[in-house]
Amino acid sequence: MSYKKEYDVIIIGAGPSGVKSALTCSKKGLKVLIIDSNGNSGGQIYRAPPKSYIKKSKKTLEENLIQLKFSEDLTKNNIDTAYNHTVWQVSPGFKIDAFNENGTIQWNTKNLIVATGTYEKIIPFDGWTTPGVIGLAACTILLKAHQTIPGNKIVLAGNGPLLISVAYYILKFGGKVDAIVDTSSKFEWIKSMISLIFNPKNFIQGISWLLKIIFSRVPIYSNSLINKVSKKENGISVEIQNIKNKQIKELTTEVLAVGHGLTPSTDISRLLKIDHSYDDLKGGWIPKLDKYFKSSMKGLYIVGDGSGISGAIAAEEKGELAAYSILKDLKLIGEIEFENNTSKVIKKLKRYEIFAKGIAKLNATPQSLIENISNNTVICRCEDITKKDIIHAVENGARNLNQIKSWTRFGMGPCQGRTCQYSVAKIASEHLRCNIKDLSYLTGRTPLRPFPLDKAIGDYEYEEITKVEAAPL
């Protein structure tokens, strides 16, 4: 393991909020390190194309431009970057342990900003594990970062504005969208449009996307969900069900991209055992933070969508606030400068939050999705635990997620419950008719990602390891 020197501030996650934090901190001469498991800055929303992709023409996607600016700014401000590094443990104090293709490394800092973003929420349905079914965010990453359409024919399903964005880009790049399946009704869409007005740029963009979709005659199924997917010889069969009248429409397509909103990544905050509160509109469990995104643990800040879903623009503001708070604590800025800078940002953030709330209502998990999960549907994909298994544990007395995990093995696989924890909680609270927050959340554990043993052990001399006392006889 190699030990690198201490940094004034370490930021985990080089998405919009992490980068903004880094830039703000570096302006007062702090030594800053930003870490990301991807090969570049940008996070998921502005995910950069792989390094081997060489720019061909002047044409570019807006997201790629934003990402390039991030990288430029990080370099200009002498911020150290550790890309392709996966953080596997964070210890209080703080010690950050990470691995990359060469082995392990440990950094120290007294100020840690966690900007690890979100995971996509996908509520299970029959056949959701069939290869060819991918997340909606996954589809976006394929389009924007990997420059590929996932298949010749695609069905998009879920809820929220991401559906429209993805459909637009698939059509723009010459793909065919066989259907858009949206759980919201057309009326719910119009309601949320009102809050979109607070962000005119997004609003106009949204309208233009919608127009392209309508002119391309893409069938839109509102108030509908995916009932079942099964493998066919020439693709996958998708059953679309109307939530109200239960009518089913079946079609054969190549790829189904489905997403039901985002949920904050709380891996690190749960590992560090800080308090969380439950807010479904903000994505589920969120860490308890003050208005500058400082947690109850000294020196620990959680920014971006990981503090609660508010969107990419708001994420930058959150990162900035946390950075100012650190600068004030380190006495690098005075009270007045702090107040001036932060009050401006807080005002901006409030506006974005209103916009975010409107989007959030569209992203809220409709009850119909939970009710549609059949008993034999796999919920925990890593361990093949079905809804039946979860209900069985609950009926035998399991009363919180950790207990359900202990009795069923859900969440014990390599994804550690990231993919299924939300759905298990929904299923269990539904069955128990209890408040979902009474089930608590899974205890955070090391490693934060599956830790390859070949990287973990690195090069060593056997004699080094055995510098331990022999166990007593």
């Binding site: 443990q89 550690q416 390891i465």
Partner: protein, 366 residues
């Protein structure tokens, strides 16, 4: 709750085994636990059933415990995965070879059927081990239990034997009057019993204070590492000469790496934290023993707390200066011998002639 003959405070493997045997002999028993039963060390330990790491003096007890584990249908009903496996204890250096020879000899004298075998013999038994070993110790009496199933298994067995299980009951006071014990929890709930058994694991020091007995019980947070499911990587249960490694592969393909590498923990607030350097050390040792382990990835790490007295020997028997009060705990390799130790104590409580003098708590008191 009326007419409880005996209340067992602490529902881990020691307390639950004691309770089970007492109930099978007709006593009205209740098991009290501040959480759910077997959620402490009993539910999170490595589950290794080996003679190679057992303290030499405890080998006769571990052997009896091993026999019980191999026949759970006779006393624990069913529903717990127990596997008999060969156990290999490896030596990689000359120093370790010497240590292994010495220790195996001593363990053999205490009754463990351990024999030193050559490198080629060891590789025949398990071709997956590192061919750089100097020699190995071999014992057929080895294997493992899936420790996370302990709570479920004991809950069923205790209920079948009419034992009352009282969970989420954190004992804060023990009153003793008129041949009766009154056990009170933090919320004021009361349980009355004629006899008590203190089996509170790492909380024994705290519970003993409630009956005015002061002894030091050390608490060691230990790290456990489990990989994702893998194809067959080892055929045996692996340990090493200096005792700081245990390796086993479950039926589901996951490999559990243990060996008592310390983490950080605090029993006051339940806080625990892993020490990355110790995780890496443990992983290095594991991959050194089974080189192909390098192809796998660690899924998760957790910590368990192990209790130990000043002389690292168990405390089992009557409590001095108290009538009808007993204790069981701090048993090294306690998971293996727990079922048997619980049986022994239950025999003692029933009035049978059992020699528990070597575990007498008085040796630790001033």
């Amino acid at each position: 709750m009326n007419n409880i003959d005996i209340a067992v405070i602490g529902g881990g493997i020691n307390g639950s085994s004691t309770a089970l045997h007492l109930a099978k002999n007709g006593l009205k028993v209740c098991v009290i636990d501040k959480d759910s039963i077997c959620r402490g060390a009993s539910g999170v330990n490595a589950g290794t059933l080996t003679m190679h790491m057992t303290r030499a003096k405890l080998i006769p007890f571990a052997k009896k415990g091993w026999e019980l584990w191999m026949n759970t249908e006779k006393w624990l009903s069913n529903n717990i995965d127990v596997k008999k496996k060969n156990g290999l204890c490896l030596a990689f250096t000359e120093e370790e070879e010497k240590l292994l020879n010495e220790r195996s000899q001593i363990r053999k004298e205490y009754g463990a059927d351990i024999n030193i075998i050559s490198k080629s013999e060891a590789l025949k038994i398990d071709p997956n081990i590192n061919n750089k070993i100097k020699c190995a110790a071999f014992c057929e009496m080895d294997g493992y239990v899936s420790a996370n199933q302990t709570g479920d298994a004991y809950t069923k067995a205790l209920k079948e034997n009419n034992v009352e299980i009282i969970e989420n009951f954190e004992v804060s006071k023990i009153n003793n009057s008129n041949n009766n014990y009154e056990i009170i929890d933090v919320h004021g709930k009361k349980i009355n019993a004629n006899k008590i058994v203190l089996a509170a694991g790492v909380y024994l020091e705290k519970i003993l204070k409630l009956v005015d007995i002061n002894i030091k019980i050390k608490c060691f947070p230990q790290q456990l590492i489990v990989t994702e499911r893998m194809p067959e990587l080892l055929k045996t249960v692996i340990t090493v000469a200096h005792g700081k490694l245990s390796l086993k592969q479950f039926e589901n393909g996951t490999v559990l790496i243990g060996g008592g590498w310390p983490g950080k923990g605090n029993i006051e607030n339940g806080y625990n934290e892993t020490i990355p350097e110790n995780l890496i050390g443990n992983m290095r040792l594991a991959c050194h023993a089974i080189p192909n382990l390098k192809n796998s990835r660690v899924s998760r790490v957790w910590l368990g707390l192990e209790a130990e007295t000043d002389d690292a020997m168990p405390i089992i028997g009557e409590l001095p200066n108290l009538k009808n009060a007993f204790i069981i705990g701090s048993i090294h390799s306690g998971y293996t011998s727990g079922p048997y130790m619980g049986k022994l104590l239950s025999e003692k409580i029933l009035g049978n002639d059992v020699d528990l003098s070597m575990f007498d708590i008085r040796r630790l008191m001033n």
